[in-house]
Each structure stands twice: as structure tokens, then as C-alpha cells.
Amino acid sequence: MAEASLPRILAAIPKGAWLPLGLLAAWAIAAGSGVATSPLFVSPLEVLRVPFADPDGREVWASLGASILRIAGGGVTGALLGLILGTLCGLSRVASLGIAPTINTARQIAVFAWIPLFTAWFGNGETTKLVFTALSTFFPIFLATERGIRSTPKALEEVAQALGLPLGKRLLRLYFPAALPTIQVGIRIAVLSAWIGTIGAEYAIGNGRGLGSFIASARDQFRMDIVLVGVFFLAVGGVALNHGCERLFAVLFPWAKE
């Protein structure tokens, strides 16, 4: 009976899951057999109990919440700025010539190079983290919006012009819908870079709540089990944000499905 169902269970495992499961097994075997005996090497079971049983490890939930709030606050600000400036530059050649070169040059600076400047300007606290998250969201949204608005078909622009549509209606009925597929790509990239930006800023600055500072302080205390939990939450958080965005698109823009 057991022999009959085992192949079936194995067959039900998706092909993409084999590699992580294999690595997990190797990790468990290495920890259980005593091959690896460094104090920095912890077993998967120990890691598993950290978020629930360990007093320091339980902090991970609050840290996750703090990071999500941060990405929401900074990300939405950066996204709105990117949308507004991107729309302006997409619509107006003058605005594009005036603003876009500065933004495109600033974009070439690796985002983490801004951290020393931001800490000097905004201090070692919340403001710097929010500004940093906003910045890493801003660039992809700005670029996508500008390109999307500019790619609006000329033929449809002429229709709007001949019908005498006022600017507000034109944005709502023509430019945003035309730009939406491009903006969606930008949002996908922005969500990822905002998440990395948030965690990175928390990690680099180190104080306050958040997954980044959670990992940083665990590393300072040589708590590898807690570091691993933090990394796992970071990955799951990223995947969840990505999925949340896709769901939101599907609800908001049902006609935009490919």
C-alpha cells in the first residue's frame, strides 16, 4: 500500500520544486549527521521554530509589517511622482526636454549610492528610508509612464482632437488607457525594486523596525537561524507583493489582459 502511493506522491511534486527540496534535504542531512559542526550552522528544524518559539525570532512578524508599511508609504509616493512627471514629459516636448535629461542622468547612479547622501540630508531615521523607497519606485514608473504616454497612437489623438475632448477627458479616455500596458510593466519592475530598496535601506541604516534591520541585528549577534528566517520572509514578501499587484491589475483593468 505504502509502496504503491509513494511514486504517486513523487509524481505529484512539481518539477520546479525538486531542486529546493533536494537542497533542503542535503541541509537537513548535513546538520543531522554532524558533518557540519560550526556554531553558525543550524538545522532546518531549528530555523522552523524561530518565528514562533524564539523570543528574538518572533520579532520577524512585526518587522515584516513595518517593512510592508514602509514600502506602501514610500512606494506610493514615488509611484505618484513618477506618474505625474512621466505624464507631463510624455505629453509635453518642452517638459520632456527640460526634465528628462536630469532624471535620466540621476537614474544612472546606483540607487544605494544615494544612502550616504540621504542620511546626511534626512538623518538616520524613517525619512531616509521612505525617501529611498520612493526613489527606487520613482525611476521605473517615470520611465514607463513617459514611454507609454508617448506611444499613444497618433490616429487616436487626432480623433480626440477632432472631437474637442478637454485635457482631463483626454488623459482619462486616451492617454492613460493607451499607456497602461507599458505602465504595468513599469509597476512590476518598481514593486521589485521598491522591495529591494526598502530592505536595503533598513539593512544599511540598521536602526528601527523592519526586515532589513531585523536581519542586520541577527547577523551582529551571530544568530544564523534568525538571519535565515529573515531571508525567507524577505523572499515570501517579494513574491506576495508581486502577486498582489497582478491581482489588483486584473480587478482594475479587466480589458488590459493580453
Binding site: 490616429a155 487616436l156 487626432e158 480623433v159 480626440a160 482632437q161 477632432a162 472631437l163 474637442g164 475632448l165 478637454p166 477627458k169 479616455r173 486616451l174 488607457p177 493607451a178 497602461l180 480589458w255 488590459a256
Partner: protein
Amino acid sequence: MNTPSAALSIGRVGKSFNLNGTHREILRDVSFAVSKGEIVGVLGASGCGKSTLLRLIVGLDKEYSGRIAVSGEETKGPNRNVAMVFQDHRLFPWLTVAGNVGLALEALDLSAREKAGRIRHYVDLVGLSDYIDAYPKQLSGGMAQRAAIARALVSEPNILLMDEPFGALDSLLRLRLQDELLRIWDRNNISIVIVTHDIEEALYLGDRVIILEANPGRIHSVIDVGLDRPRLRDDPHMASLKRQCLELVLEPSARVSS
């Protein structure tokens, strides 16, 4: 003919521009008037500026010399009394038939109920009642062009400009839409200027046919059709007019190529 009572009067209109340093004259000294409820066909070889003429009248291009007046009042730029149907339907892919037709009402001061009523009326008029909630990609070419005609008519303009509106359709469908256009025209008492390269279409629809010659575009001759409606497509008088048109249309282009 060039009286203030004319629905549309074109007075000595000229259009030229510089292309890479060379001066190109597209239209020279074009003058004609369209009275209320009249249908005027505009015939000409490609490159004679007939599409340009319509773009000037509808206000997509404001750089020209001469005078264009609607109901006796000079106009430059989009005018709510003038609507245009393009060769390609130019429907917004993200809006339904109702949404696309409703676009033409966005700039008008109407209540939501009035708008909905008008949209339904004109969608019915072009025979698309069953497709009022369909998206453009769900429509055939003929249905899409009908929706475009509804969009042009819904604001109840005095003048309907049509730029080879049936040119992209197969010949049977073209004949049917010509008859539908006449049926709608009969109800609305609207003036129509229809640009076409199809001599039979111009003669079947038009009260008069203006023949343009090219380089620069100017009026070569005007033919009075002088037949009562409903017309027979195989009317002997029509056949002789067609022969006459053919000679006139071919004559200038023969001169160009020699």
C-alpha cells in the same frame, strides 16, 4: 453659392509647407460651398490633397491660407458642428461601442440620461444595437466603421466629413453602407462631404462631384449629378456621367506623367 446661408463654405483655401527645405504646395485656391442637406463628393487621384482638405475643415490642421466658414462663421480648429469619419475606424480599443460613441458627447453639456439616450439612438441607427457593449476587436470591419459613423453623428453636427470611409471594405459591403448612409442622411438632413477615389460612389451619393487635380491640389471641375433619389446604380445618365468623370480624372494625371 457662396452665400452666408451655406452650411460650409471654403474660400480660396491654400496649404503649403516646407519639407527638407523644398517648398511643397498641397492645395491652391480651393473654393466651394455646401448647402444645408447637400452631399458633395470629392474625387481625385491620390496625392491631390483631398484628405488634407478635410483635415483643414475638421480643424486638425490650422496652418492654411484662405477662409473656412461653417454656417457663415469662420472656423479654425475643432468645431462641434463638424464631425469626421476616417478611412480606418479609429475606435478606442479599450472602450465599448457605447463608450466610443459616447466620446463625442464628452465635451457637450448633457445629463447622463440624455447622453445614454443619444448613444442608444445612434447605435440603433447604424444597426449595432446587439453590439452596444462589444469591444472593437469583437467587431467586423463593417461594424467598426458603422460604430465610427455613429460616433460622428451622435453630437448631431451640421456637417459630416468622410475620408474614404468605405475604402477599406469589400465591394458588396461598400454598396450596403452607401445605402445606409443615404438612409441616415435622409433622416438627419445633414450636409456631407465625402472624399473618395471611387467614381461610382461619388456619383451615387453626391448631389455634386468636385474633381480635384494634383500638384498642387486644385479644383479641376464640378459635375452636377442632378438625379433624384433613390437612384438606380445602372441609370443610363449615371453611366454617361461616369464616362465624363473618368475622362476628367484621367486627363490631369496623364498630363503629370507625360
